[in-house]
């Protein structure tokens, strides 16, 4: 392995950015490919697939054998709001392989008693997200219903290109939210990425069922990332309007 490739690889992994190390198994030469880099032909197609699946493996291309080692950051879920839905969402997401952090400045909500075994931050999103920034391998679900708490986090999630951004509330609530996000400087394209009403349309009624709908939608966004047309086609089928306070 090229020493420079190793240094780059480790720097990217520390920064929670996806990379693939492409090694020509014939002559041992290697190079780093970052997500979004254009690589032509069969090799490019295999690289795109490896970024999506996270699976490493060998590929025959251009008469040579390449080994693609995919290093993807651990995807995670940040939930804004230490509410009833979050109490169900946190253990479910953890079981599904998505570590969870919960942020809510309202100390009556964000208690260790209500959220055992979860990373819990009883502070404003403005403060915690400065120290632990969001990134494209983070999903963000804003479920407080309180613009003072949700709005900043939603804007930050759009700017950080989080793979999933969901916001609780009816279409009417969301229309008002869109106005506020536009005023905060979000673009229409960014706002279109918000899943609102939140969650896949499975007719969820209870807080725990809504948690299932949110988790399923976040997983769908993760597994279909880079396949935007498919994702948006599916998004249009996703409506969860029943829950609105």
């Amino acid at each position: 392995m090229d020493p420079y490739a190793l240094k780059t690889l480790n720097a990217e992994r520390r920064a929670r950015r996806a990379v693939i190390l492409v090694t020509d198994l014939g002559d041992g030469r290697d190079r780093i490919v970052r997500e979004g880099d254009q690589v032509a032909g069969e090799l490019g197609a295999a690289i795109a697939k490896a970024f999506r699946s996270g699976n490493s493996g060998s590929v025959e291309a251009e008469g040579r054998t390449f080994f693609l080692n995919a290093y993807l950051p651990q995807p995670r879920l940040v939930v804004i709001g230490a509410v009833h839905i979050s109490q169900a969402l946190a253990p479910m997401a953890k079981i599904a392989g998505y570590p969870v952090e919960i942020v809510d400045p309202r100390t009556a909500f964000a208690t260790a008693d209500r959220f055992p075994d979860v990373a819990l931050h009883a502070e404003w999103p403005e403060d915690i997200l400065k120290r632990q920034p969001l990134d494209s391998y983070t999903a963000l679900a804003a479920v407080t219903h309180d613009p003072k708490i949700d709005d900043f986090a939603l804007k930050a999630a759009l700017d950080a290109n989080c793979f999933y951004v969901g916001a609780l509330g009816s279409r009417k609530t969301h229309a008002k939210r869109v106005e506020r996000l536009l005023a905060l400087g979000a673009t229409a394209d960014q706002i279109a990425r918000i899943h609102a009403p939140i969650g896949l349309d499975i007719g969820a009624a209870s807080p725990a069922e809504i948690a299932v709908a949110i988790l399923a939608q976040a997983i769908q966004a993760f597994r279909l990332r880079g396949l935007e047309s498919t994702a948006s086609a599916r998004k249009s089928e996703s409506i969860l309007e029943k829950h609105d306070a």
């Binding site: 392995m1 190793l6 690889l9 041992g28 060998s58 651990q74 570590p99």
Partner: protein
């Protein structure tokens, strides 16, 4: 196992390999490039080895690491990468003990 969102710097083989390199050590990196059957470590897993035979990480459940380390010391000397194969079909592999029934292919290369 708990999924951490940050690298475990003290145990991450590639971080350790970079540290060894900075210390001026010769290093080999072994990578699982193919598996068949019930292989204990997934494709892409690393074992890193220095010229004294110190190692970190794993390419199996501990069954073939000894053999990989021996080969890696050769690879560090010669600078020529090697493809190693272990599995039940192979007499040597059976001796080194990949008894879980799987087969693995391990690419061993020198750093630099």
């Amino acid at each position: 196992m708990e999924n951490s969102i940050y690298l475990d710097e003290a145990r991450d083989p590639l971080i350790i390999a970079e540290g060894w390199m900075k210390d001026g050590k010769d290093v080999a990196i072994a990578t699982v490039v193919e598996t068949w059957g019930s292989a204990p470590r997934p494709v892409g897993s690393h074992l890193v080895i220095d010229a004294e035979g110190n190692f970190h990480g794993s390419v199996s459940g501990g069954c073939v690491e000894g053999a990989v380390v021996t080969e890696a010391v050769d690879v560090i000397d010669s600078g020529k990468a090697k493809m190693l194969e272990f599995g039940v079909a192979d007499e040597t592999a059976w001796q080194v003990g990949l008894s879980c029934g799987g087969r693995i292919k391990v690419y061993v290369e020198r750093l630099g």
